[in-house]
């Protein structure tokens, strides 16, 4: 065995604190080490060339690179070994930067520690075995959970590359939150005008399948081979027979608050949420339908000319396989009823930004009239309050919801456009308008639309003589402000969906203290998750405006396509391996495995002439976490790359 040790200076990162020459000198004296060298940047091309040449010239068969964390450059050096013609897994890294030079000051001591770390790595590599990569097939289909603007964009991108994609949307129509918006900032494009073409595109694309009124129930498997159970809730209307003529809801006698119109308008019990819904097929709300409640009415079934109404339709559960999953489940609105000082959500004329979107929409419940929900009178003095729930550690969430400053500015503008006599007052903490043309937009709202911006919080809202008295502070002038308002619009923040944690657990992806899904790396892998093959887009990861949601949607699609385009999926060989002779079949490993990667199988024991039950690692699923090796009482499971032999050798070298 001929081991080569390569010590990196990492510029001054290591060399300043660790005497790298001393380390190389000491390494050269270790048993089996035939060559030791230092170089300024081992990861640079000349550094790598140095390793390749040394392997060839000195016939080295094991390598230790004494440099940074293996997280950063292990792959680089494995490639070096491959280039030099030896097995890529015969390299060990001794981390003398993060674990040594960066955390110590005393050069003598640090050098001593670096030598120790190298000694351990040499001991470990001496027990390394050549390993081969494994390959698994890929199901060439993508699942998108959520049919809002993020999900729609992802689907369009994937379908464009001619790969099949399935959207699962919980609501009766795709479109998500954006479908309910009036205009979009800062360009004031009509939201429906730019969204609905995308909705139509996606619904007409032959590579896209859309399951609306459906939910993901269960996800098993792993990258390249996910098995997903989807519950298609019974809409009681046949998707194929229905033409969307609307005869049914024209006759339905039930009137309930419309969710799409935020309770400002009514809908029937059989309904499409909005006119441009995709699919344009109604659904029956069983909780309010007279047929389902009392076996009465039945008007919709009578009037449907196509026989599309099926009262006894049942939920259907389908199972499909996918290679990758894009999570696009979006956000929900912060519930402002925790603010007692703003009336605990009880004042009818204290509404949220989403209510305002519907109200200001000319095809909305008020026909575009800015009207007080309490009495329908037109609202002249409108107070907008920023940061409801956002940036409030006591009652809400600590983070900034990013879009509220902008949508409030938009609302103030639209208010003036709808009624030139109306006046907007905006209470803000800071104005965060960091986007292309955003600051200009806010400025325009202030200068040209006369919105009065007041820097401060509102301490109290109460009703008096038909008005809402809004009390607050203007911290710039130091004055107390009292405004007699007709309407108050709260800029409620964006928070995770109520069931976000459940979905994250189902998908084995992490989420943070705010139940927002966690990306693999906040800067360098913003749409990936630690679970291979599962990607994030839109506000389920953090609050996002439409451009950001669309950008992350395309990013996630590219990541998914990058997987799908492979013939087969390369898997690292650093996984667990069972010695069936030693395995007692106790199943401790099965319980310990967080990925369901261990199954039991029967094997023939020739010596005893009987069968026994032993553990078997499912190759494609094992992530090499090592839990099973730690719980195995028989030492029957070994983790490749971290075998018992390697670890013991390392310990003995200490």
């Amino acid at each position: 065995m001929k081991i080569g040790v390569f010590v990196c200076h990492c510029g001054t990162n290591i060399a300043q604190t660790v005497d790298v020459e001393e380390v190389a000198k000491a390494a050269a004296k270790l048993p089996k080490v035939k060559f030791a060298a230092t170089y300024k940047y081992m990861c640079s091309s000349p550094g790598q060339a140095l390793i390749v040449e040394a392997i060839k010239e000195k016939a080295l068969d094991r390598i230790v690179v004494s440099a940074c964390s293996p997280n950063l450059h292990e792959k680089t050096f494995r490639k070096c070994l491959e280039d030099a013609g030896i097995n890529a897994y015969l390299v060990e890294m001794a981390n003398i930067r993060e674990h040594c030079s960066w955390v110590h000051r005393d050069k003598l001591e640090a050098t001593r520690k670096a030598i120790e770390l190298v000694r351990l790595a040499v001991a470990k590599v001496s027990r390394s075995r050549p390993l081969e990569k494994t390959y698994v097939p890929i199901e060439k289909k993508v699942l998108i959970i959520g049919g809002g603007i993020s999900g729609i964009q992802s689907a369009i991108d994937i379908a464009f590359a001619k790969y099949p994609v399935v959207i699962v949307e919980r609501e009766p129509s795709i479109g998500g939150r954006m479908a309910g918006f009036d205009k979009t900032f800062p360009t004031l494009d009509c939201a429906a005008c730019i969204l609905t073409p995308k909705m139509v595109t996606v619904s007409q694309n032959k590579y896209v399948t859309i399951h609306t009124y459906s939910e993901v129930m269960e996800v098993t498997g792993h990258v390249g081979d996910f098995t997903v159970k989807i519950r298609k809730k019974a809409r009681a209307v046949d998707l194929n027979k229905c033409t969307g003529c609307g005869a049914c809801f024209a006759k339905c006698p039930v009137k309930v608050d419309s969710e799409f119109d935020m309770g400002l308008g009514k809908r029937t019990a059989i309904y499409v949420p909005f006119p441009q819904a995709v699919p344009n097929v109604p659904v029956i709300d069983r909780e309010h339908c007279l047929w389902f409640q009392k076996k009465a009415c039945g008007a919709c079934k009578k009037v449907c000319p196509f026989g599309a109404i099926e009262y006894d339709m049942q939920d259907e559960i389908i199972e499909e396989k996918f290679g990758a999953i894009i999570v696009a489940t979006g956000f929900t609105q912060f519930d402002h009823s925790v603010y007692g000082e703003y009336g605990y959500g009880r004042y009818k004329d204290v509404i949220t930004g989403l209510h305002f979107e519907r109200m200001v929409n000319s095809s909305g419940p008020t026909g575009g009239k800015i009207a007080r929900p309490s009495d329908g009178k037109s609202a002249k003095d409108v107070v907008f309050i920023h940061c409801i729930g956002s940036r409030d550690e006591q009652k809400g969430v600590p983070y900034c919801s990013r879009v509220c400053c902008m949508y409030t500015a938009k609302h103030a503008l639209l208010l003036k456009e709808h009624d030139k006599d109306a006046q907007a007052y905006v209470f803000y903490i800071d104005i965060r308008a960091a986007g292309k043309n955003y600051e200009e937009f806010v400025k325009k709202v202030q200068d040209e639309y006369g919105a009065i911006y007041l820097r401060g919080r509102v301490s109290r809202i109460f009703e008096k003589a038909g008005k809402l008295i809004v009390r607050g502070a203007d911290t710039l002038s130091g004055a107390q402000i009292e405004i007699k308002a007709d309407l108050v619009v709260l800029a409620t923040g964006l928070v995770a969906q109520d069931d976000a944690a459940t979905l994250a657990q189902m998908l084995h992806i992490p989420y943070d203290q705010n139940r927002l899904f966690t990306e693999l790396h906040p800067k360098l892998a913003p749409v990936e998750t630690i679970t291979n093959g599962i990607f994030l887009t839109g506000a389920c990861q953090s609050p996002k405006d439409i451009p950001d949601a669309v950008a992350t949607a395309s990013a996630a699609s590219v990541k998914a396509l990058g997987l799908l385009i492979q013939d087969r999926l390369e898997k690292e060989p650093l996984i667990a391996k069972v010695d069936t002779d030693l395995c007692s079949g106790c199943k401790a490993c099965v319980t310990a495995c967080p990925f369901n990667a261990i199954e039991m199988k029967e094997v023939e024991v020739k010596k005893l002439k009987r069968k026994k039950s032993v553990a078997e690692v499912v190759k494609g699923v094992c992530t090499g976490c090592g839990n099973c090796t730690a719980v195995c009482r028989m030492s029957a499971i070994d983790l490749e790359g971290f075998t018992n032999r390697q670890i013991i050798e390392e310990i003995e070298a200490l």
Binding site: G340, E341, Y344, R460, F462, E463, K464, A465, I469
Partner: protein
């Protein structure tokens, strides 16, 4: 039901009628109030604007006195006393640094173990409104009153914690029980100016005027309070307010205990009603509560 009673300075002076009516209500309901022997200042304004440590050490001294009694809980009527005693308990429970200093001053260990209640809390939550209803002999009918809680009774929430922070309702519930009609009004927890009464009277006049105006606007014939400072600002200063702001208020300011006592059939003479600056007698006669 037995409590260590902490009256505080106001109830022995400007709010004598609060003290009288509280004791009357308690005895009529069989709630035994045993005054804490040798009680001292609660640590309110004069102390806490002087020295933070003093404002904790004083109430702790009182609480230690109460601890030595056989009744386990302290009850108080003054919102400021209530606040000081509760806040001192919080510090002694949670802040080891303060605890150490205060224990040195008072010479005894204390960890905030003596429970403190406001008398409103005792009536509404411990004795219970249902039980109270059974004891009522004479409902006070047709009186529209604004229940005014003031700033200290419900705040800070983590310390007081017996009623809703922004929209308290226990006094309203209590008033409804005895027949009074509480009006819906938004100023339940506004500031009356409190102890600025002497040093910056103008502030008190403005703030208390706003409160009186709001009560009147919302149809109240009287205001019901649970704090001697609120009572004194709204009652004692009413004349000055009328003069300064050209108003014509004639709004009696009751302690909730006075009205409860009347509903329990206690003679009006025992309740210190004559001590009010704005006499409530005409209103009470009009409503047939007194003859």
């Amino acid at each position: 039901m037995k409590y260590a009673y902490y009256p505080g300075c106001s109830l022995h002076s400007t709010a004598k009628e609060y003290d009288l009516s509280t004791k009357e209500v308690a005895s009529a309901l069989g709630i035994e109030l045993v005054q804490i022997p040798d009680w001292i200042c609660c640590g309110a304004t004069p102390a806490h604007i002087t020295m933070h440590l003093l404002s904790i050490a004083l109430p702790v001294k009182n609480l230690l006195q109460a601890k030595k009694m056989d009744s386990c809980e302290v009850v108080t009527c003054c919102a400021a006393c209530f606040s000081r005693l509760k806040i001192a308990n919080e510090f002694m429970k949670r802040d080891p640094e303060h605890r150490e200093k205060v224990e040195k001053i008072v010479g005894e260990p204390y960890r905030g173990e003596v429970k403190v209640r406001h008398f409103l809390d005792v009536l509404a939550n411990v004795f219970g409104l249902k039980n109270l209803k059974e004891k009522i002999v004479k409902e006070i009918k047709g009186l529209k009153a604004a229940c005014y809680y003031g700033c200290l009774l419900t705040r800070p929430k983590d310390v007081t914690g017996f009623d809703d922070l922004e929209e308290p309702h226990l006094m309203d519930d209590l008033m409804k029980t005895i027949g009074v009609e509480p009006v819906k009004w938004p100023y339940k927890t506004e500031c009356c100016g409190a102890s600025f009464s002497l040093t910056k009277t103008d502030i008190v006049l403005k703030l208390s005027c706003d409160i009186l105006q709001m009560a009147e606007d919302e149809g109240a014939e009287a205001i019901v309070v649970a704090c001697p400072l609120c009572q004194s600002n709204l009652d004692l200063r009413q004349g000055m307010i009328n003069k300064k702001y050209n108003k014509n208020f004639n709004m009696p300011i009751f302690y909730f205990t006075q009205l409860v006592a009347l509903s329990l059939g206690i003679e009006p003479e025992k309740l210190g009603l004559g001590k009010h600056i704005v006499s409530p007698m005409a209103l009470l006669k009009k409503k047939g509560v007194v003859v």
